[in-house]
């Protein structure tokens, strides 16, 4: 017995009132290295033991601030310095959008790190080698008893005096607790061959698995990557379709925008009834018509549609467009001629879009009116 090193003297109590009394008496008697073990926190115990309030709140505040500052700082760095991107037309540093992430990181760091700090700094856990573990005393306070123990390292500690003190308080099962000898003599050897062997095995397995996952597994089905996956590429064959053609033909009857098929072939006289100019002679339309006329029509018809070609006889001159025939035509008839061509004139449908042809007709009407002005036009 004498070789064993004493840790503390323990005593058990049955009720919360008794343990509060015992704790306050122990603290009044001047003991400092003592502890109370109860299956649940007993109200008023901190006062009875004269403990200072827990300072864990300061840890929480520090970690919370760390979370907030690092979140805001990181997002600021990313959006202002590292890779500024305009997103949704908002400023680079649009702080309202940073609120959720900053809040979450504040909460995350404050709560998780406070708990870790408490466990590691205050409790010095994990520690399963404490002398109180596996004693009868621990089993009792774990269940329904209330225990107190005064440690041998307390300056006022005296085995007999403490035992008598507990007896006077009404404590039961007053027993000494000793350090576990195995634990005391236990030493960890860094160069234990067993330990090094296990480390080596873990290292090989970890690196092998990492290599396999990142260099082999990730390139096996079903994992596929955008670089290599089956997809359509312009002008390239594709396996995705049974005919092996990547560029698909349009569906039968598809009409490209602005390219409605022209149903009237060679029916110059009758089309006027069916085709009506869809545009109004606004300033913009006349401007367009003028530009298109000067580009496409004026080389042969002349700048004022008088048939005075600029081609100097290299091409037969067309008749003037100020003839009664043309002036009395419906817009549709002119449109038909531009679209289908007439005599030597080819079709201009490929060069001039539909609406531009109608705009040219408006411009032509303006030219006709200007060249054949009536008295009433001057009013």
């Amino acid at each position: 017995m004498s070789t064993k090193q004493l840790y503390s003297i323990t005593a058990l109590f049955d009720s919360p009132d008794e343990i509060i009394h015992a704790a306050s008496e122990t603290s009044k008697a001047g003991y400092t290295k003592y502890d109370v073990n109860t299956p649940y926190p007993v109200h008023g115990m901190d006062g009875a033991m004269q403990l200072k309030p827990s300072r864990l709140g300061f840890f929480a505040m520090a970690f919370g601030l760390l979370g907030a500052v690092s979140a805001i700082g990181f997002m600021t760095w990313v959006t202002l310095i590292e890779y500024p991107l305009v997103i949704g037309g908002k400023p680079f540093w649009s702080w309202p959008a940073f609120v959720p992430v900053s809040f979450e990181l504040t909460v995350l760091l404050a709560s998780v790190l406070s708990v870790v700090a408490m466990i590691v700094i205050y409790f010095k856990f994990p520690n399963n080698a404490h002398p109180l573990h596996d004693t009868k005393y621990m089993k009792a306070v774990s269940s329904d008893k209330f225990g107190i123990n005064i440690q041998a390292e307390d300056p006022k500690f005296d085995e007999k005096a403490v035992t008598e003190f507990f007896k006077s308080l009404g404590g039961k099962e007053i027993t000494p607790v000793y350090f576990d000898e195995d634990e005391l003599s236990h030493g960890q050897k860094l160069f234990d061959p067993k330990f090094i062997g296990i480390l080596a095995v873990v290292a090989v397995i970890a690196s092998g698995t990492t290599y396999f996952i990142f260099n082999q597994l990730m390139f096996m089905p079903p994992f596929n990557w955008m670089m290599t996956q089956e997809k359509l590429k312009a002008q390239k064959p594709s396996e995705l379709f049974s005919d092996g053609i990547g560029m698909r033909n349009p569906v039968d009857g598809t009409v490209a925008r602005g390219f409605l098929p022209y149903p009237f072939k060679g029916q110059l006289d009758s089309v006027g009834k069916y085709l009506v100019n869809p545009l109004l002679p606004t300033k913009e339309v006349l401007e367009t018509g003028k530009q298109k006329y000067l580009t496409f029509c004026s080389p042969c018809h002349g700048n004022f549609a008088q048939g005075d070609s600029r081609l100097r006889g290299q091409f037969p001159n067309p008749p003037t467009l100020h003839s009664d025939k043309v002036r009395n035509w419906h817009d549709g008839n002119i449109y038909h001629v531009i679209t289908e061509g007439q005599n030597v004139m080819p079709s201009y449908a490929p060069q001039i879009a539909r609406d531009d042809r109608w705009a040219i007709i408006h411009y032509l009407r303006a030219l006709q009116r200007a060249q054949n002005a009536k008295e009433s036009d001057f009013k």
Binding site: P16, Y40, L56, G57, F74, M118, F123, P222
Partner: protein
């Protein structure tokens, strides 16, 4: 007729029948020390089958891709997002019970907090599954996080979808820490009770060497308070941010400021319904009727009638704002919800969430186990349909009638949904067999006579 006077000044006992500390221990730890009975195995077989159906659907979705699902233009968010919001909502009851009720000094929470927290963790796990599957390349989840990469690109910090990643992962981590913190003293008690050497080793590792020391309890209680203080705004923020996924967009029916409070109320509503439903079985099969009392269930039903009415108010207010805004798209979306092709889902939602829970105003129904069980189930059905209505109706018919479409889920969608239930209940069945479903140390502390008399 005699009038019974109820003394409201005196709090009802939280635990009935004044059990001693060791009696509480025996009854709570009983399921941990016995080989599971046949009934448990039957239940486990059912949930495991559901889980394997879900596993099959996940495998097929991984192998073949998301074309197996019903999502397509214009409804790109289907069952996956509906289930995500549904499960995250279920998870809210746990933190509400463990954190908010703790701050409000509601001592009745002790009996149900542990179980509700476990449900939170399992529900968030189920929830996390769906967005992960929804990303399409499920083996690249690190793209969701801001990590330095060879593209030199970072995630978009202005996107609510990224806020969601942070919110849900923080919520999961903090819930797990909260739950584990509560488990430490109980694990130490289990360590000191058990006679099996293997179990003792496991309990010793996870109890970290807890000695029930008051010098530790002091910090422990402070840590619990701090965690509760942080978890309270956290739980409110999580569903707020989930609702931002919708509210920050410009889709009619989503772009509303009522979404955050409305989503949080709905989450608490569905979470309490789920906790109540499962607890009815737990207290029955583990003889915990004196610890999880009828008073507990009644109080939960009261929370449900409150949050259910808040949800009902939100439904009405959405219609009012749709009319008041004068926006023709907004007005159309709500008329379409009530009268369009998904009106059956809308009216299922309204009847399950607004009408049936009002029965809880009647005390008899509030205290009748079969009635509250049925209403709890309808609430969960209703809350699932709420998310369905929000996600699908708004997407299927938005601005341009030429871009309208109809969403039809496939069997794989259904299988994944079934699988998430399988995962949830499998985890619960394992949990009730390996860990104490009631916080032993907390319940010991609230039994009558557990605290010093002068206090």
């Amino acid at each position: 007729m005699s009038t019974t006077v109820i003394d409201y000044t005196k709090e009802l006992p939280v635990v009935e029948g004044r059990p001693t500390a060791s009696q509480i221990e025996v009854v709570v730890t009983a399921p941990l020390d016995q080989f599971p009975p046949r009934k448990w195995w039957y239940a486990f077989a059912v949930t495991l089958s559901m889980l394997s159906i879900g596993g099959f659907c996940i495998g097929m979705s991984l192998y073949k891709g998301l074309g197996l699902w019903g999502v397509n233009q214009p409804v790109g968010w289907g069952f996956d997002i509906v289930n995500f919001v549904f499960w995250v909502g279920i998870g809210h009851a746990g933190t509400l019970i463990s954190a908010i009720l703790f701050l409000l000094r509601q001592r009745w929470r002790t009996g149900i907090a542990r179980f509700a927290e476990a449900m939170t963790i399992f529900a968030v796990m189920c929830a996390g599954l769906f967005p992960l599957m929804h990303t399409g390349r499920q083996w690249l989840p690190m793209y969701l996080t801001p990590y330095p990469n060879q593209h030199g690109l970072w995630v978009n910090f202005t996107s609510p979808l990224l806020w969601d990643v942070f919110a849900v992962s923080t919520y999961f981590t903090v819930s797990l820490v909260f739950w584990y913190l509560g488990l430490i003293p109980d694990l130490a008690t289990l360590r000191d009770r058990t006679t099996s050497k293997i179990k003792k080793t496991i309990y010793s590792i996870f109890s970290l060497g807890w000695r029930h020391s008051n010098r530790h309890w002091q910090h422990y209680e402070r840590a619990y308070l701090i965690l509760a203080g942080f978890a309270t705004p956290l739980v409110l923020s999580v569903h707020t941010i989930v609702s931002f996924d919708f509210a920050v967009s410009v889709i009619p029916g989503w772009h509303t400021t009522i979404f955050p409070p409305y989503f949080v109320a709905g989450a608490v509503f569905s979470g309490f319904a789920m906790v109540q439903n499962v607890l009815i079985f737990v207290r029955q099969y583990f003889n915990l009727k004196h610890i999880i009392t009828l008073d507990h269930l009644e109080k939960m039903n009261k929370v449900m009638v409150l949050t259910g009415s808040m949800v009902g108010y939100a439904y009405a207010m959405e219609f009012f704002i749709a009319w008041y805004s004068g926006s023709q798209f907004e007005t159309f979306v709500f008329l379409n919800r009530a009268l369009g092709p998904y009106s059956w889902a809308y009216w299922t939602m309204v009847s399950c969430n607004v009408i049936f829970p009002q029965l809880f105003w009647i005390k008899k129904i509030r205290r009748s186990i079969p009635a509250m069980f049925l209403i709890g189930i309808t609430v969960n059905i209703g809350m699932w349909f709420e998310r369905f209505v929000i996600v699908v109706t708004s997407l299927s018919r938005d601005f341009l009638p030429s871009s309208w479409g109809h969403y039809t889920p496939t069997l794989y969608d259904a299988g994944l949904f079934l699988g998430s239930f399988g995962l949830f209940f499998t985890l619960i069945l394992i949990f009730v067999r390996v860990l104490p479903v009631v916080s032993i140390s907390e319940v010991k502390a609230v039994v009558e006579g557990a605290q010093p008399s002068h206090h």
